[in-house]
Amino acid sequence: MSLLGIILTFSLVDNIVLSRLLGICPCVGSPGGMRATAGTSAATALLMSLSALAAWALESFLLRPLGLEFLRTPAFVLAVAGLAGLLDVVARRAVPQLLRAAGIPLAGIAVNCATLGVVLIAAKGGFTALQSLVVGLAAGGGFFIALTLLTAIRERLEVEKVPEWLRGLPLHLISAGLLAYAFMAFDRAFLSRLFQGW
C-alpha cells in the first residue's frame, strides 16, 4: 500500500475512533476545549507513531525470529508504557508550560486502548518501518479529526435544550454514533476513485 493510501485509510476509512471504536473514553469524556484537544491529539499522534515503530522493531528483531509471538501483548504494552514515560520526562523538561497549558495527560494516553490498538494493527499488518511510522501518524490524525468534531458537537450541545436524562455523556455517545455513520461515507472504493492508484 502506498503512503497516501495508508494516510487515507487510517485517518478516514478505518478511523481509529469512529470505525474501530478505540479511544472512545478520551473522545467523549474529555472535558477540555479545543486547545486541550489539539494538545492531546498531537501527543497521541506522536506516541502512536513512535510506538508503532517500536512495535515493528520488536516484532521484526525479537518476537518473530525467536518464535515469541505469543508474548506480543506484554511486549507491546510495556513498550508503549516505557515510551510514554520517556516522552513525559522529555516534555516536562523541554516544554513544561505547554504541557500545563494544554493539560495533556501523557500517562492516560500511554495505556488507552487506541494507542495499543494502533500498535497491534501496525504489527499485524506486515508494514515496513516507514509505513509503521506513517500508520501511527495517520491514526493520530484520525484521532485528531474525531476528537475535534466531537468537541465541537459537545460545545454546541451544552447550550442546546436537550432531555435531562440524556445530557452529558449519553448524548456525546449518541453524537459519536451518528458521526460514525457519517464516516461510513469514506468508503475505500470511493477514495480509490478520487486518488487513482493509492
Partner: protein
C-alpha cells in the same frame, strides 16, 4: 463494603459501563454478536480476578513497590494484566479459534481496559493483605466483571436481534448455535450492527440507567 453488597453494587448501582462509563470501547466494538460479548466478558473477568489476586499476594509478601502507588506498582499491574491477557488469547485461540478471530484485536486490548486499570490502580492501599482483604478485593472485582458482562450481554442482544435478526450462542450437539428471530430476520435494521450502532446503544443504555436512578431517587425521597 462487604463482599455481597460490593458485588451487587458493581452489577447495578455502580455498573462500570452503564453508570461509571468506563470500558466503553469493547462495549461498543464487540457487541455485534452475543457470543463475542460472552467471550469478551469471560476474558475481562478472568484477567481482572487473576491480576487483582496476584497483586494482593504480592502485597502480602511485601513485594517492593506493591500497593505503594509508585511507578513500579503501575508497571507491575500492566505487566500482570498483559501476561494474563496473553494467556487468555492463547487458550481462546486453541479451543475456540473462530471466536478468537471474532474478537480480533479487542482480545489483547483487555490488558489496557479501563476497568482493569482504573479499579486496580485506584487501590494502592497500605493495609496488610489478609484473607479478609483478599476476599473483599476479589468480591469487588467479580461484581465489576459481572456488571460489565451484564451490560455487554444487554447491548449485544439488542444489536444482534434487531440488526441481524439472530442470536448467536455456543453450538452444542445438534444445535448450531444460531437462533433466528422470526419476523426481524427477514428485514433487520442492519445499521445497528455497524460501528455507529454500538455507540448509539451505549448512549441510550447510559441514559436509561440515569433515568432509572432518578426515578428510584424520587421514589425514596
Amino acid at each position: 463494603m462487604n463482599g455481597p453488597s460490593t458485588r451487587s453494587g458493581g452489577l447495578f448501582r455502580n455498573n462500570p459501563v452503564a453508570v461509571m462509563l468506563v470500558g466503553l470501547c469493547p462495549a461498543a466494538a464487540v457487541t455485534g454478536r452475543v457470543i463475542d460479548a460472552l467471550w469478551m466478558s469471560a476474558g475481562l473477568i478472568l484477567v481482572l480476578l487473576l491480576t487483582r489476586l496476584s497483586l494482593e499476594i504480592l502485597k502480602a509478601f511485601s513485594f517492593p513497590g506493591s500497593g505503594t502507588g509508585h511507578m513500579t506498582d503501575w508497571l507491575s499491574l500492566l505487566f500482570l494484566a498483559s501476561c494474563f491477557t496473553a494467556s487468555f488469547e492463547l487458550v481462546l485461540g486453541a479451543f475456540a479459534p473462530d471466536e478468537s478471530a471474532g474478537l480480533g484485536i479487542y482480545a489483547p486490548l483487555i490488558a489496557v481496559n479501563c476497568i482493569v486499570l482504573d479499579r486496580l490502580a485506584g487501590r494502592g492501599s497500605q493495609e496488610p493483605a489478609g484473607p479478609g482483604e483478599i476476599g473483599r478485593s476479589l468480591g469487588q472485582a467479580s461484581g465489576l466483571g459481572a456488571g460489565f458482562a451484564l451490560s455487554l450481554i444487554v447491548i449485544s442482544l439488542i444489536r444482534e436481534t434487531l440488526g441481524s435478526g439472530t442470536i448467536t450462542l455456543f453450538p452444542i450437539g445438534s444445535f448450531g448455535g444460531t437462533i433466528a428471530v422470526g419476523g426481524i430476520s427477514l428485514a433487520p435494521a442492519r445499521a445497528l450492527v455497524y460501528a455507529g450502532g454500538g455507540l448509539l446503544c451505549l448512549g441510550y443504555l447510559a441514559g436509561a440507567a440515569r433515568l432509572v436512578r432518578r426515578v428510584k431517587g424520587a421514589e425514596r425521597a
